[in-house]
C-alpha cells in the first residue's frame, strides 16, 4: 500500500479520535487559529509597507523623483532655481512630463478667530497634478486652490468659497500677511496624512503666500519618464549631477533600508516565535494525547493495524488540528490585521492611504507552508512513540492496571 493510500485510510480514524474529545480538539484548533492569525499578520507586515508604498508611488503616475540631496522630500534642503531646473529636466527626450512641488504649512482662518492647521502644496510643470479632483474643477490660475475633504468639512468651505490663510514656509515667515485663495474644487491627495488638511495650488500661489521666503524653490520635482525610468534618471544626472534623482524602486530601496527596517525585524522575530510556539504546543498536545491512548493503539496493532497505519493516524490527527486551525486563522488574521493597521496608522507622518498589513498571495502560500511544516514536525515525537510501542508489554500493563 502506498503512503498516500495509508494516509487516506488513516484520515477518518484521526477525525474520529478528534471528535471523541471535542473540548480538547476545539481548544487545540482554537490555539492554532490564534497562533496562525498572528503568523499571517506578521507575514503580511514583513512586506506590507513596501507593497503599499510601491502601490501608492505607482498610483500617482510619476516614476522618477528629483530632490536636492538623497533625502526624501521635506527631509532635506529644497531645490533652488526651480524654474530653470524644471525646464532643463522637461526638455530631456527621456522625460514625458515634470512637475515641481513645494510644500508649506498654513493656518487657515476660520470664523471667530479660530484657525485650522493645513498643509499647502504648490505645483508647476507639464505633468498631471498630484491630486485627484472629486468635485468642482482643478486649479488653472494663480490664486485658485483645491482642498481635501478634511478641510472642506473642517472649514465648511467648498468650490466657489474663499479661503484666508497664513503660510509658514519654514524660514522666518511668521510675520507673513494672510493670503486669499479661491476654492475651485475638492480633491483627494494620495500622500495626505490621516485627518490632514491639505490645500493644492499652483507654485506661484504658494510662492506668493510665502513672500520672499524661498522664492523659486521646490521640495521635489516629480517626473514621468517617456518609457524607461532608469534612462530618465541617467539623463537627469547627466545634465544636473548636483541633484538627487531616483526611480520609485530606488526610493523604495532607501525607505526599506531605513524607516521600514523595524517592522521587517519585528515580523521576522515574531514569525519565528509564533511558529516555535505552535510547534511546541501541538507537539505537547499530541504527545499527551498519544500517551493517554497507548493501550488503545497497542490493541489496534494487535488487531492487525500496521505500524505505518498507526503512525499515519497520529500524523493525520496533527494535520487535521493544524489544517482546521489554519483555515480558522485566515478570517481571525484578517480582522486582527485591520485592528493592528489602525493602531500603527496613528503613527505621525504616515499617509492615510498607506497600509502596514497588505494581503499578498506569497504571504498566504508561506503561511500555509509554515503551518504544514509545523504539523509534520510537531507530530514527529508522538509518531516516534507510536512506532516504537511494544504491543505485548503495553497490553499487559493495561490489563494489570
Amino acid at each position: 500500500m502506498t503512503a498516500w493510500a495509508t494516509l487516506r485510510r488513516a484520515l477518518p480514524m484521526a477525525w474520529r479520535s478528534l471528535i471523541r474529545q471535542p473540548a480538547r480538539a476545539s481548544l487545540g484548533i482554537l490555539g492554532v487559529a490564534a497562533v496562525g492569525a498572528l503568523l499571517l499578520d506578521m507575514l503580511l507586515l514583513s512586506e506590507g509597507l513596501i507593497v503599499s508604498m510601491r502601490d501608492l508611488l505607482a498610483r500617482t503616475g510619476y516614476d522618477v523623483r528629483v530632490t536636492a540631496t538623497e533625502d526624501l522630500p521635506r527631509n532635506g534642503p529644497r531645490l533652488r532655481d526651480v524654474q530653470a531646473t524644471l525646464s532643463a529636466i522637461a526638455r530631456l527626450p527621456q522625460v514625458r512630463g515634470a512637475l515641481a512641488v513645494r510644500f508649506a504649512d498654513a493656518a487657515v482662518a476660520l470664523p471667530h478667530d479660530a484657525t485650522l492647521d493645513a498643509s499647502l502644496e504648490g505645483v508647476t510643470g507639464n505633468a498631471p497634478h498630484p491630486w485627484h479632483v472629486l468635485r468642482g474643477r482643478d486649479v488653472r490660475e494663480p490664486g485658485e486652490a483645491v482642498i481635501n475633504e478634511s478641510i472642506a468639512t473642517g472649514s465648511g468651505a467648498g468650490p466657489g468659497a474663499a479661503l484666508m490663510l497664513r503660510a509658514d514656509c519654514g524660514v522666518g515667515t511668521e510675520a507673513l500677511p494672510p493670503a486669499r485663495l479661491q476654492i475651485v474644487g475638492v480633491a483627494e491627495f494620495p500622500f495626505a496624512l490621516t485627518n490632514e488638511n491639505t490645500i493644492g495650488a499652483t507654485l506661484g500661489t504658494v510662492m506668493a503666500a510665502c513672500g520672499a521666503d524661498g522664492a523659486d524653490q521646490a521640495d521635489v520635482i516629480l517626473v514621468t519618464s517617456a518609457d524607461d525610468a532608469d534612462a530618465a534618471v541617467a539623463a537627469i544626472k547627466a545634465v544636473r549631477s548636483d541633484l538627487g534623482a531616483a526611480t520609485n524602486e530606488q526610493v523604495l530601496g532607501r525607505i526599506q533600508r531605513t524607516g521600514f527596517t523595524y517592522f521587517q525585524q519585528i515580523s521576522s522575530v515574531l514569525t519565528t516565535i509564533t511558529v516555535s510556539f505552535a510547534l511546541l504546543l501541538i507537539a505537547v498536545l499530541l504527545t499527551v494525547s498519544v500517551n493517554q491512548r497507548l493501550g488503545e493503539i497497542a490493541a489496534l496493532r494487535a488487531l492487525g493495524f500496521s505500524r505505518g497505519r498507526v503512525v499515519a493516524d497520529v500524523l493525520c490527527e496533527s494535520a487535521l488540528i493544524v489544517a482546521m486551525g489554519g483555515v480558522l486563522s485566515l478570517p481571525i488574521g484578517a480582522a486582527l490585521a485591520t485592528v493592528l493597521d489602525r493602531i500603527l496608522k496613528r503613527m505621525p507622518g504616515i499617509p492615510a492611504e498607506l497600509h502596514f498589513f497588505v494581503f499578498q498571495p506569497t504571504a498566504l502560500t508561506l503561511h500555509m507552508a509554515l503551518l504544514a511544516a509545523t504539523a509534520v514536525l510537531a507530530a514527529l515525537y508522538p509518531m516516534h512513540i507510536v512506532a516504537r510501542l511494544p504491543i505485548a508489554a503495553t497490553l499487559r500493563d493495561q490489563v494489570a492496571e
Binding site: 481548544l27 490555539g31 490564534a34 540631496t69 533625502d71 548636483d242 541633484l243 493517554q292 500603527l344 496613528r346
Partner: protein, 288 residues
C-alpha cells in the same frame, strides 16, 4: 526647554547632514573646528586632527575646510535604524557661513531652535509662558513636550501591547487544553479522593495551590529565559545596525506585569479544567 524662533543666530552647536564631504589629511591649523560622529569617522577613516572639506551641494561648490577636534557617539535614534549617522557638528556661526544664501545678509539667518537650561528646572512651564507672552512669533515649550518622537513610541507601545494580548490569548487556549488533558489523566485519583470523603472544595483548593506553584515556576523560568535572551538580542541587533540603541530591556515593571498575568492565568486554567471534573459523580470518576 526648547523654543523655535527665527531670531538672529546664537552661538550654539547645530547638526547638519552634509552632502559631499571629501577628506584630506593635514596638520592641525587655525581652521574652524568640528566634531564628527563615530559612524562618519569610520566610514571615511577620519581621526582627530583630520581636515575635512565640506560643501552643502553635491557638486562640491563653495567648499570650506574644517579640522576634526572630536569624535562622538551619536544619540541612538530608532527612526534612523539601519542608516548610519553621518553627522558633523559645527559652531553655529561656521554653519551659517557655510549654508548662507548669497542673497541673505549675515546675521539675518533663521535658526531652528534654542535650547535653554534653566537655573531651576521646576520653572519650565512658567518660563515658557513668559517667553511666549513677551516674544510674539516664538513658540517656547518644555523639552519634554517638544519631543516630536514621542508619538511613534506611543503607537509602537500600543502595537506591542496588542501583539502581547493576542499571544496571551493563544497561550491561554493552549494552557487550557493542556490542563484539561492533565486533569483527565488524574480522574481516577480524584474519584478515589472523593470516595474516601474529601470534599470537592478541598480538592479544588489543592488543585489551585498546585496550579499556582506550577504557574509560578513557569513564570520564573520565563523570566530567566527573557533575562538570558535580553543581552543576546541586544548584542545581535546592536551589531547588526551598528547602534548603541537598547532593543530589549526587562525592567522590574515588565517582570512584575508578566508574573501578575502568568500566575493568575495558570491557576485559573487549572481550576477551570478541574471544576468540570469535580462536578461529576465520584463513582464515575473512580470507574467503579
Amino acid at each position: 526647554m526648547t523654543f523655535a524662533t527665527s531670531t538672529r543666530a546664537l552661538l550654539v552647536s547645530a547638526i547638519v547632514f552634509v552632502a559631499g564631504a571629501t577628506v584630506t589629511r593635514a596638520q592641525p591649523s587655525s581652521l574652524p573646528s568640528v566634531v564628527i560622529s563615530r559612524h562618519l569617522a569610520e566610514a571615511r577613516q577620519l581621526s582627530i586632527g583630520s581636515t575635512i572639506r565640506v560643501s552643502t551641494d553635491r557638486a562640491g561648490r563653495r567648499t570650506r575646510e574644517f579640522t576634526v577636534v572630536g569624535i562622538y557617539e551619536p544619540t541612538p535614534n530608532p527612526s534612523r535604524l539601519g542608516s548610519p549617522d553621518l553627522e558633523v557638528r559645527f559652531h553655529l556661526p561656521d554653519l551659517l557661513d557655510l549654508t548662507r544664501d548669497p542673497a541673505t545678509l549675515a546675521g539675518s539667518e533663521a535658526i531652528d531652535g534654542i535650547n535653554v537650561a534653566l537655573m531651576d528646572p521646576a520653572d519650565t512651564q512658567a518660563f515658557a509662558r513668559d517667553v511666549n507672552a513677551r516674544l510674539p512669533g516664538v513658540d517656547a515649550r518644555p523639552a519634554s513636550a517638544a519631543s516630536g518622537s514621542a508619538g511613534p513610541f506611543i503607537v509602537l507601545r500600543r502595537f506591542h501591547l496588542a501583539i502581547a494580548a493576542v499571544t496571551i490569548g493563544a497561550a491561554t487556549v493552549f494552557l487550557l487544553a493542556l490542563t484539561i488533558m492533565l486533569v483527565e489523566e488524574r480522574r481516577e485519583t480524584v474519584g478515589v479522593l472523593r470516595l474516601i470523603g474529601l470534599p470537592a472544595r478541598r480538592i479544588l483548593l489543592q488543585v489551585l495551590l498546585e496550579g499556582v506553584m506550577v504557574a509560578a515556576a513557569g513564570a520564573a523560568f520565563g523570566l530567566l529565559l527573557a533575562l538570558a535572551s535580553e543581552r543576546l538580542i541586544n548584542r545581535f541587533f546592536q551589531w547588526k545596525y551598528d547602534t548603541a540603541l537598547v532593543f530589549v530591556r526587562i525592567t522590574p515593571d515588565v517582570a512584575l506585569t508578566c508574573v501578575a498575568i502568568a500566575i493568575p492565568l495558570g491557576a485559573a486554567a487549572t481550576v477551570i479544567a478541574s471544576w468540570a471534573l469535580l462536578r461529576r459523580n465520584a463513582l464515575r470518576l473512580a470507574r467503579r
